[in-house]
Symmetry: C2
Subunit: 458 residues, 2 copies
């Protein structure tokens, strides 16, 4: 499974809502008091989130390695390696771990993003020890033969064909990322460029595994009906026996240069019926933003186009009826820069140009007049309300902690986040809009029907 660039510029809001959930949860019930974290002697960071509402537990292991850390020409290796982690080890045949999960009625999966690769199982607490045994075993014990590599490479290539090559949206998104980021590796698709995936070999996989799959580059998150002291003992008995890996250099990826041009990326395809657009900017993420900036970008996105109560939705969709959908989003959840995006889909006989103009007018209004105290307060409140969905989901909580720690934030950052959101002023919201939403450097992505199709006008 890939968490890829799609969520960065078009389907925004998911990670936003999850992060908001964390904050509001922290407000309503001080979960951060209950969270226990410690580090094993071999460098494995452990976070335990007790949750006794149901006899179930989620184990996640997050490796601080994602596609943006890949060597040049080796795109796809991080995601490929996620697949390889389901192969056999010197102790267990391929499939034994998954069979053990299934045997207790659990579920499991894994995902790869620009900044991390994570593996999880949700099982009854009685099975957790077995899960830890298996997960610790594959941290260093995989047997990577040419046969394993070659057959699994075919699998990821087929995954690319189905998920990317078969989808105009995905192809457009891929080239939009490659245009938006002029230098940073977020420009390279998580799944990899086909011609590079085809060349991935056993030596690449072994090097990658040796360097990055180690306790000192991982975070174990256990959320559920467990006792932190017992988890500590179990972790020491399983993961604690895995030797530390090599020391890793800081994650200094190539940075973006100053942007000086506006750019467009256009895909026409017969499978597209409704035209759509999005315009994106590279902006700071939570990790690298100046204090308050990322929080202000979150609230700007919420006020401008974060849902059905937003300015864009109310004016452009509900009142004028120019668009069937339109909005804005901010993704600041990465290790390196984030993105801010606006998007829209025209209604009936309205054109994409009309939607773009209407959305741009909403931005201009904030640039000129700022936001009101009332709508700022309402936006903050919507963040709090949005947590209701997340608080009942144990795996969401494990996700939040794992991801934030994997991208360089701290448990303190998670705890303080609601206060930081509350502290944002209307002036700060207007300031980040002025600073970052500059049309002269926006990257606009168009998904269009074929030029000769009826109503294909832009």
């Amino acid at each position: 499974m890939i968490l890829n660039g799609l969520s960065r510029t078009i389907i925004l809001g998911t990670s936003l809502i999850v992060l908001a959930a964390s904050a509001a949860l922290a407000q309503d019930r001080p979960v951060e008091q209950a969270v226990v974290d410690f580090t094993l002697a071999n460098g494995l960071q452990v976070v335990v989130i007790p949750d006794h509402r149901a006899p179930i537990v989620t184990q996640m292991v997050w490796y601080k390695i994602g596609s943006a850390d890949e060597p040049p020409g080796k795109s796809g290796i991080a995601h490929f390696f996620e697949h390889l982690m389901f192969k056999g080890t010197s102790k267990h045949a391929a499939g034994a771990f998954s069979a053990a999960v299934a045997a207790v009625g659990g579920n499991e999966n894994a995902f790869t993003s620009y900044d991390y690769t994570a593996f999880y199982q949700t099982v009854p607490p009685s099975a957790l020890g077995t899960m830890m045994d298996f997960e610790a075993d594959r941290m260093r014990g995989l047997v990577l033969t040419d046969e394993v590599i070659n057959s699994e490479r075919d699998v990821v290539l087929e995954e690319r064909r189905q998920r990317i090559d078969g989808s105009p949206q995905a192809l457009l998104q891929e080239e939009t990322q490659a245009t938006l980021y002029q230098n940073h590796p977020y420009r390279i698709p998580v799944i990899g460029w086909e011609q590079e995936m085809e060349q991935l070999n056993r030596a690449d996989a072994v090097d990658f595994y040796t360097l990055y799959y180690a306790p000192n580059n991982a975070i174990l998150v256990v959320a559920g009906d467990v006792d932190p002291a017992a988890i500590r003992t179990m972790a020491e008995q399983t993961y604690g026996k895995v030797p530390r890996g090599p020391d890793l250099a800081p994650r200094n990826r190539p940075a973006e240069p100053e942007h000086n041009t506006s750019r467009t990326v256009t895909m026409r395809d017969a499978r597209v019926s409704l035209p759509s657009y999005s315009v994106s900017w590279v902006v700071p993420s939570y990790r690298i933003a100046q204090p308050g900036e990322a929080e202000a970008l979150n609230l700007l996105a919420e006020i401008l186009g974060g849902g059905t109560r937003s300015r864009i939705y109310q004016d452009v969709v509900v009142k004028s009826g120019v668009a069937v959908d339109a909005g804005a989003g901010y993704d600041g959840s990465g290790y390196d820069p984030g993105t801010f995006a606006l998007y829209g889909v025209p209604q009936g006989k309205h054109t994409l140009a009309e939607v773009e103009a209407a959305v741009a007018a909403e931005v201009a209004e904030i640039l000129n007049d700022g936001v009101t105290a009332d709508e700022l307060a309402a936006a903050k409140a919507r963040f709090v309300r949005s947590i209701i969905f997340a608080r009942d989901d144990q795996s969401d909580m494990a996700n939040i902690y794992g991801r934030e720690l994997a991208v360089g934030l701290t448990i303190k950052d998670i705890a303080e986040w609601p206060d930081r959101i509350e502290a944002v002023t209307a002036q700060q919201v207007q300031d980040v809009a002025k600073r970052y939403l500059d049309p002269a450097i926006g990257v606009t992505s168009y998904l269009l029907p074929p030029a000769d199709a009826v109503g294909a006008s832009k």
Copy 2:
């Protein structure tokens, strides 16, 4: 000095004409018979081009290292190193080499491109031994102190500010390259991204020097009033004493993925008075093309827009008067992919959109109807005529041989090139136009006056 991306997409034709010159020269007078090449025991490839018309000689040393070979995050190191080569060695103080060139009334310079870095001096033959001594000495003998590195880094940063940051054309070109190439390092500017240039340090420079500046990664070209046998002796006594460097891996740079979108890059700037555009495609270079493809692309560019006799110039500039300038060009001189580009500048009250449409109509005509036998013959003849300029220029000849060998072509390729051009058929020209000039994947670059300027309409 930098040979950068500018020539790849807007000012095309230079390398084309020089290459044409080489070919025609080979036809009129079989220069390739006189060219002598050999390799020293330490791996240095030597090419001698005797030319006794004047008592002068050009020495060039070409290193097969350019900006496209730089490690990620170290952009600018190849060009930076070109500068460092003018610093002191353990034998000679900084400036001694240049003083020796000046003392004999010679001239010298150096340049860096995506694929190579070259150094040359033009001097009286009597001074050649001294030049070889100096050039061989700095191949491995540089003294790279922190002081040298730090002061020269300021120099290249200032060069960037003047050449790139001070020029809307250059900034646009930089971001156009970064958009046109989605994965290949031709996307990164030769001079480097500022934020990476600022970080270049002594360790980077020493690693780069150790790895790439060595006889087995270099080509010595000597063109002029010299005897090949004497050159061999001199080369052995100077360069021959330089130890071989490390064996280098093949230059397998990250390759381009399939392109699926059309893209635009737009720069508006108060310093722009006349709007202009260019549209570019990534196409094969001579080194990687199928037989005949690169030659056909050269002739397509010539027929379509290679000069004042071309279709675009005649129709769009002379007859309709829509443009003050318009044309086409192909640059296939690189180690990796080449580019094909169309460009235009509107005349008077005509708009850029009119020019784009008029140029596109010329392309469409070739796609539909091909080219005539007469214009193909005339285009081939123009290639031959264009050599007149180059044949009298000794340093052009040295340039041609050095560059072609540095990008992986052979002396045989240079010799056979005119025959290969002559063999191109009208069908092949139409075929490459159909294969590569697909508007659905072109990258269009716009240089525009500010939006509120009079006549700033696109």
